[in-house]
Symmetry: C2
Subunit: 473 residues, 2 copies
């Protein structure tokens, strides 16, 4: 047994302890599913800019495809093909505003990861932990294929494939396949598969659950087997396209990159693709015949194929858009799967919110009217009626609103306002509003970046592990 | 003025102090000759294997294209496109045998570099410093294009283009263009351009100097200008071929690599090239229509073009071989330039020693008979007569031997024996004698290696400099 195998067992043990009520064994979801020889084939990398204070400490960590920016301490961790960003870490002297509190930041925030096992996952760095604003912590967390951990300390959570935990301090939780949870703290609480749950204490509660037969078509996992379904096929079919991006250094951008825009060199660009000003295309984004209007964001693991984003559009981590025309100011949430076809195209009007984890998989052309909230699984115009609501209407409602299987409770106005505010924040922090001087965001700060590539031991007992590294400014 | 410019000035100042008797200014050889923007374009790298104990410490160093293996501490140094190896560093517990002494090694030997300025140079790690066997030191050394520093502590030496200092502890010396010096310690001593000098105190002295008009054709440098001549043209014409090797990661070997052989992934391979068992092809080697027999070595910055090496051949750092057939057990020394043509090919018999810094640039076919020592500049058969001697004959001679402009003094037998012994050692340590189990050398130990790529700050005051790094096993 090599050291990396021992390390994997250690992660499984720790996670099982965290998930002990009722008993759960993460082992079958992990053991034998990750080809250990891949660990020595991949490289990890970290970024260096003049904007982000750095300090990296890696100790015997297995980092596979990870990506770090900013301050980061990783210890014995396994991070297979993970993307971890650090471009929103708080810095000393800043004031962190949250829940009507003003919290001074005493030292530069640092990403700390311990034994986490994040497979092809994404961890984003805008943390919202009030108690520990300087510590971006993830501990004995397992996260399955294409899961998102968005901005938060996390602990011992097993997160299912294409699952997302968002905005929040999570603890020892189990989150189901393709479930999306934005609920604050959860202890010893299990989220069923396909549950979309947004809760703001005393303000609102949004709940929808995918029917199991629908979910199974797109993503499904059995202990001891690899996840299956259309989502996995979609990702795997395009995996090879990333090889050229990852195995070539110093590429000249394949298409013109206008002022204020960033095209990350680990993105794939194919066909006739056009970028406008202030566009942010993150690493592991995939563009094919994509037209991206001013200030559009295409985040990590997003795919934009034969589609047009008019401008000021956010496509959040893992969002996929095919044969679609998205009008301005529309938000497409995490791991949304908007699958038009050349025959049955999708149109989404302006100022819409496509909820995280929404599936639109068309068997006829569909147009979402402007200013609508959309969720669930939509295959035709009839489905749209039971899986959408005008935002203006929702804003006027309080108490319980039921549309199809969706149940909303609380203040519609606060829900809509919170979402609108968040989209604005994302556009701002990504640099969509940059005017050549002010409102600089990720699209501008990330345009000049050095990528440092580190590889593990190529053989022996340490195969797949890295030497200890400490990197300071 | 950015920090890297300040650092360059600092190196110049220190070297000038070292070379103060009589006064010398290294500035014009350095300032404005190195495009600083290149420093942010290139990457440095270090290797990771299960054979070489590692520890890297880089502190604000500008490392451009450097290559490190083994233990290494670098401080504020500028190392532009340099190759530094660490695969012959002594390890704790070993006994270092030299000059009939047995010196126990108390701790792992470490490469220490300070403000050195090594432009496209090579530093090799088999050090011969008796007083400090654990410290592989290079300090405020400038070395010009394609200079070699072979196995030694060095200090404040300005070393001219294509110059070599070999096997020795150098101090504050100035070594001329294309000069080769293997003389032990030298203090405040200037070596003229094109001088080939091998001295073993009380044993022998070999001295040859290229006529200035010959040297000028091949390599020449004026203060304030880039070096010129056929050598520079030769290197520059092939520089682009290395780009693909450097800007692509994880390449599958382009040709079969047999058992016990290593083809470094930073080598260029073109045309019909064949490797035999136990062949070592180092980084920045260039092979084009090359046939390499069993146990042949092609070291850093070597070019083998339309040529055949029969087997157990050493081509030392910077050696170039074109349109030649080299018979077994023949040694081609540092920066030798063996330029046959398809019309006027070169044949070198078995067991020959082609001295370091030998130019063979043919205007008719030439055959060097077996067992000969060759030096100087040879363009035809007539030149060969005045620039070679049979090794058997030299072995029988003592006192003074003059052939053409070459003057030899001392024991021929000891000179020949020292050379033979060295060639044997190189073959052994490079793994030419590996039998599948025993006599493992660089060709075997370097076959599984992870390359870690580090890049400097991409902009700002720190442009071209690296963050501080410490890497431990």
């Amino acid at each position: 047994m090599t050291q990396i195998q021992r390390l994997i067992d250690q992660v499984i043990d720790r996670v099982n302890v965290n998930l002990r009520e009722p008993p759960f064994d993460a082992g079958p979801y992990v053991r034998n599913l990750i080809p250990l020889n891949q660990f020595s084939r991949f490289y990890a990398f970290y970024g260096l800019t003049s904007y982000h204070p750095i300090r990296f400490k890696f100790h015997k960590s297995s980092l596979a495809g990870s990506y770090f920016l900013g301050k980061c301490s990783v210890d014995h961790s396994i991070l297979y093909k993970s993307d971890i960003r650090g471009d929103e870490l708080k810095v000393q002297g800043q004031t962190f505003k949250c829940c009507n509190l003003q919290i001074p930041i005493h030292e530069d925030e640092e990403i700390r990861i311990k034994d986490s096992f994040l497979i092809k996952s994404l961890v984003h760095s805008n943390s919202h932990d009030l108690e520990n604003p300087e510590e971006f912590m993830i501990r004995n967390t397992i996260a399955m294929h294409y899961a998102n951990i968005h901005g938060a300390p996390t602990r011992g959570c097993f997160i299912g494939p294409f699952g997302t935990i968002d905005l929040t301090t999570f603890h020892n939780c189990l989150v189901g396949t393709y479930s999306y949870v934005q609920t604050g703290e959860l202890n010893h609480h299990r989220i069923p598969d396909g549950q979309i749950w947004i809760r703001s204490t005393d303000a609102f509660n949004f709940l929808y659950r995918f029917p199991p037969e629908v979910l199974k078509r797109y993503i499904h996992v059995e202990p001891g087997s690899m996840p299956t379904g259309l989502f996995m096929e979609f990702m795997e079919n395009r995996e090879r396209d990333f090889e050229a991006a990852f195995y070539t250094l110093h590429t000249i951008p394949p298409i013109p990159v206008p002022l204020g825009a960033t095209l990350n060199r680990y993105a794939v660009v194919r066909g006739k693709t056009v970028l406008s000003e202030n566009v942010l295309v993150a690493q592991r984004a995939y563009l094919e015949d994509a037209w991206l209007g001013k200030g559009s964001n295409v985040q990590e693991n997003c795919y934009i194929i034969r589609s047009r984003l008019d401008g000021y559009n956010v496509t959040a981590h893992g969002g996929k858009v095919m044969d679609a025309h998205i009008h301005p100011n529309t938000f497409v949430g995490f791991n949304a799967f908007l699958h038009g076809t050349p025959e049955f195209p999708l149109t989404v009007g302006s100022d819409c919110i496509v909820m995280p984890h929404t599936i639109v998989d068309l068997e006829e052309p569909v147009t979402v009217p402007p200013g609508h909230l959309v969720w669930g699984c939509i295959r035709n115009g009839k489905d749209l009626e039971t899986h959408s609501i005008a935002l203006d209407e929702l804003s006027k409602r309080s108490g319980e609103v039921r549309v199809g299987d969706m149940v909303f409770q609380g203040s519609g106005a606060m829900f809509v306002s919170a979402f609108r505010h968040r989209v604005e924040h994302i556009l701002e922090s990504n640099g969509a509003m940059y005017d050549g001087e002010n409102n600089r965001g990720h699209a501008q700060k990330g345009s000049r970046i050095s990528f440092n590539i580190i590889q593990p031991y190529p053989e022996g007992d340490l195969l797949g592990l890295y030497p200890s590294m400490e990197i300071r400014p």
